[in-house]
Structures are given as structure tokens and as C-alpha cells.
């Protein structure tokens, strides 16, 4: 589904991503964890080419993206939806208008838009707030609007860059539940970047641990869960570096 082949990205003299290779299977919920500055957000931004790699290939469904330009890359991005830490909604648009814009960009015929938007808002439980503005919503509601906007166009992949880091534990759990349902009901491949191990542990099947712009380790999370885990990426990385076992 998603393959990064020897990808590198540099910002000035800072090498954010160093020769990273990674494969994410279709239908998987994949976690990317690491300390601040580890390169995890850059990595996920390379997957939909918001950042262009300096070296290496980004391959989605067998198609190498980094050689694509213009309209084709925009079309591909419509099937690789993304949500961010900040919800990044347009404050001057209603909830409905924030979601419908994804359909306008994808040139979905007008007659189908309302139905699709309402279906998407119902899925995240916000259909009754369609005429509200983001400024009138809570943090969790805003993030759910962002999720509705992301899924309204039936994407193949949902990239989530720290989707819960500004939310309280209850709201975090709600948002994660929505992400799990998206994966289970629609078969959407989900990539979650987070620095919170609890988040990764609760939803992901496989985890890539990033450190200093490199993939440090890839870990399978067992269905029974991972026990006695540190609650920060720093802790995980420290334990891995010292030869510790994640399952200990």
C-alpha cells in the first residue's frame, strides 16, 4: 500500500529523514512514534508529498509519487486524506462547508454532496452541528469535523499527524474510537503519528519507532496489548537503546 524506499529529507543543514525505508500494508493501522524532532511528522508528510523527498521514492499502490506533478499529484492527495494536530479548519466556514470543500475539490457532482457530507458528519456524530462554526465547537468536536472532512471523499489512506496531542484523555479516546471505526468499517489504511505511547498502543497493529530521522525499530503490537510500557516515546527509545524489551 505505502512504501517509502530509502527516502531522505533535509531542511537546510538539518537532515530530518535519513534513508528511511518503510512498508505499510493495506487496511493496517500503523503507528509512528518518536521523540520531538525524530522526524515522524516529516515522514508522514512525505507520504502525501506535502514535503518532497530529496532522495528515494514514495510509492503508493505501486505508483511512484515523487515523479508526479500538477493535477495527478492533487488527485492522488484526494485519496490520501490527512488530519493534523491543530484541526486546520477554516474558521469562517460552517461545519458543513468545511466538509463539503473536500468534495468540491474532488469535483463530486453537486447533487451528491449534501448526502455525502451528512453521512460523514453522522459517522463522527456531528450532523446536528452542521451549521455551527469551528469557533463554537470544542477541541474534540473540531478534530471530528477534520476527520469528517478527511473521510467524506472515501480515501484509501488516512494520515494522522498527532491527532490527539492537544486533546484531553476522554476526547482522545473518542477520536481514537472514530479512527478505529473508519479502519474497520471502510477498510481505510491509517497511519498515526504520535509521541504518546498510550495512543499508539490502543489502536495500532504495527509501530515504527523513529529516532534522529531514522527508523529505529519496527514493532508488532500483540492483540493482548503491550504491558508496562513507558508513557512517552523518549522512554520507549531509551529502553530500546539500552537493549530493553518492549514487551517486558
Amino acid at each position: 500500500m505505502i512504501t517509502l524506499d530509502n527516502v531522505s529529507k533535509r531542511f537546510g543543514s538539518f537532515e530530518a529523514i535519513q534513508s528511511v525505508s518503510l512498508h505499510i500494508e493495506s487496511g493496517e493501522i500503523h503507528g509512528i512514534i518518536g521523540a520531538s524532532g525524530a522526524g515522524k511528522s516529516t515522514l508522514v508528510r512525505l507520504m502525501n508529498l506535502i514535503e518532497e523527498p530529496d532522495k528515494g521514492d514514495v510509492i503508493i499502490d505501486g505508483e511512484t509519487l515523487n515523479h508526479l506533478k500538477g493535477k495527478r499529484i492533487r488527485q492522488i492527495r484526494q485519496s490520501l486524506a490527512m488530519i493534523f494536530q491543530g484541526h486546520h479548519l477554516v474558521s469562517n466556514k460552517t461545519v458543513f462547508d468545511n466538509v463539503v470543500v473536500a468534495l468540491q475539490l474532488a469535483k463530486v457532482p453537486k447533487k451528491h454532496r449534501t448526502e455525502k457530507v451528512m453521512e460523514s458528519l453522522r459517522f463522527v456524530g456531528l450532523d446536528t452541528l452542521k451549521d455551527q462554526y469551528p469557533g463554537q465547537l470544542s477541541g474534540g468536536q473540531k478534530q471530528r469535523v477534520a476527520i469528517a472532512r478527511a473521510i467524506v471523499n472515501n480515501p484509501k489512506v488516512l494520515l494522522c499527524d498527532e491527532p490527539t496531542s492537544s486533546l484531553d484523555p476522554n476526547t482522545t479516546a473518542e477520536v481514537l474510537k472514530v479512527l478505529q471505526r473508519i479502519n474497520q468499517e471502510f477498510g481505510v489504511t491509517i497511519v498515526i503519528v504520535s509521541h504518546e505511547m498510550e495512543v499508539i498502543k490502543s489502536v495500532c497493529e504495527r509501530v515504527t519507532v523513529m529516532a534522529d530521522g531514522r527508523v529505529y525499530e519496527e514493532i508488532e503490537i500483540e492483540p493482548t496489548g503491550v504491558h508496562k510500557m513507558e508513557h512517552s516515546a523518549e522512554g520507549i527509545i531509551k529502553r530500546l537503546k539500552s537493549g530493553g524489551d518492549l514487551h517486558a
Partner: protein, 220 residues
């Protein structure tokens, strides 16, 4: 109504009409050319969507040069250009040429600054949704910055009224020119004061309308 205003009401109405023509053309130029120039300036900045240092620096320099000109000197400097465009450098129609040029430079800078207030994340989300540059401008940037753009236009319009008072030097007329010719030069201070009051009322109304509209469309 004071007698002196009644006596000159025909001339005053004509002058107000001339001011409206000059300011109206300036607003039109600001919207049709100044806004795209300001948008382009914003998009060509470092780290923005169309980042281009050469284009940004060149455009930035031109806008700065035009805005640096004392307006009276700009009007005089542009006389040959005005004559080339309009066939004459005298009159209200000719006066719209320097007015539109300063309007474009003035509003483009304010529009650029308004767009800088749009959170970068909104643009990032738009790009991630596969939006084209045109989509980003019309469906995201202008929507998010709309109240700031309205307030900038309000500020610009008030500046255009101020600029229009100078247009008397090239026979542009206008309410400011009327105040100078009929009030100051003919020692009718009371007439000049009445005209100033009319201008203050205009500016207050424009400011009020601008703030009210901006508040109404601002849902942040």
C-alpha cells in the same frame, strides 16, 4: 442648513460626485489589481506555496517605491503617462490614473498583510486535500482572511479620499479641492470648515460600514 452651504450646494454636489468617481475607480483598481498583486506577493514569500525570491523582491520593491512617493510628486511624475493613457493630464478622468496606481500599491500591501494572518495550517490542510493554487486562494485564503481584507479596504478607501484632495493640482476636482478653492483661497473659513465636517462624516460612515461588515463576516 447654513446659508453658505445652500449657496454653494450645486458646486458641492458636483465636487462630491468627482470625489466619488476618483475614489470609486481607486476601489475598483484596488480590488481588481491590488488584491491579486497582494495575493501574489504573499504566495511568493519564503516558505509559501509559490515561493520565488526574485519575483517577490521585484514586486515588493515596486510596491514600496510607489508607496514611498509623496503623492503630489507621484501625480506630477505620472503626468506624461496619464497623458499617454487618457489623451490628457487634466480633469477628473485623468486624475483617476495616479489614483488607481497608488490604490493598487496601497491595497496590495494591506491585502498581503491580511493574508499573512491566515494560519499556515489552513494552507497545509488545503494542499493535503489536493487543492490547486486557485482553489487555495478562493476556497481557503480569501474565506479565512475576508474580515481582515474588508478592514484593509476600509483603511484604503479612507486614504483614497485623502489622496483625492490633492487632485486639484491637475484639475481633478473633488470635495477637498472645493474646500481649498472656495474656502481657503477665497478666505471663507466657515465654508472650508463645513466641507471638512462633510468629509469627516464620510470617513466616519465608511469606517462604520467597514467595521460592521467585517464583524458580521468574521466567524473566528
Amino acid at each position: 442648513m447654513p446659508d453658505i452651504i445652500v449657496k454653494y450646494q450645486t458646486e458641492i454636489w458636483v465636487s462630491i460626485g468627482e470625489t466619488f468617481i476618483m475614489v470609486g475607480f481607486s476601489i475598483l483598481a484596488a480590488l481588481l489589481i491590488g488584491l491579486p498583486v497582494g495575493t501574489f506577493l504573499f504566495l511568493c514569500r519564503k516558505g509559501q506555496l509559490l515561493e520565488n525570491q526574485v519575483v517577490f523582491s521585484s514586486l515588493n520593491l515596486i510596491v514600496n517605491i510607489i508607496r514611498s512617493f509623496p503623492f503630489l510628486l507621484l501625480v506630477i511624475f505620472l503626468i506624461p503617462f496619464t497623458r499617454f493613457i487618457m489623451g490628457t493630464a487634466i480633469g477628473t478622468a485623468a486624475a483617476t490614473v495616479p489614483m488607481t496606481i497608488i490604490a493598487i500599491a496601497h491595497y496590495s500591501r494591506l491585502a498581503e498583510q491580511s493574508l499573512l494572518d491566515v494560519p499556515k495550517g489552513v494552507m497545509e490542510a488545503a494542499v493535503s486535500m489536493g487543492a490547486s493554487v486557485k482553489d487555495i486562494i478562493f476556497k481557503f485564503l480569501y474565506v479565512e482572511a475576508r474580515s481582515a481584507l474588508v478592514l484593509s479596504m476600509t483603511t484604503s478607501t479612507i486614504s483614497f479620499i485623502s489622496y483625492s484632495t490633492i487632485m486639484g493640482v491637475v484639475g481633478g476636482g473633488g470635495i477637498g479641492d472645493f474646500a481649498i478653492r472656495y474656502g481657503y483661497l477665497q478666505f471663507r473659513t466657515d465654508l472650508m470648515i463645513y466641507i471638512i465636517i462633510i468629509m469627516v462624516i464620510f470617513v466616519q460612515l465608511i469606517q462604520y460600514a467597514g467595521i460592521t461588515l467585517a464583524r458580521k463576516i468574521d466567524k473566528r
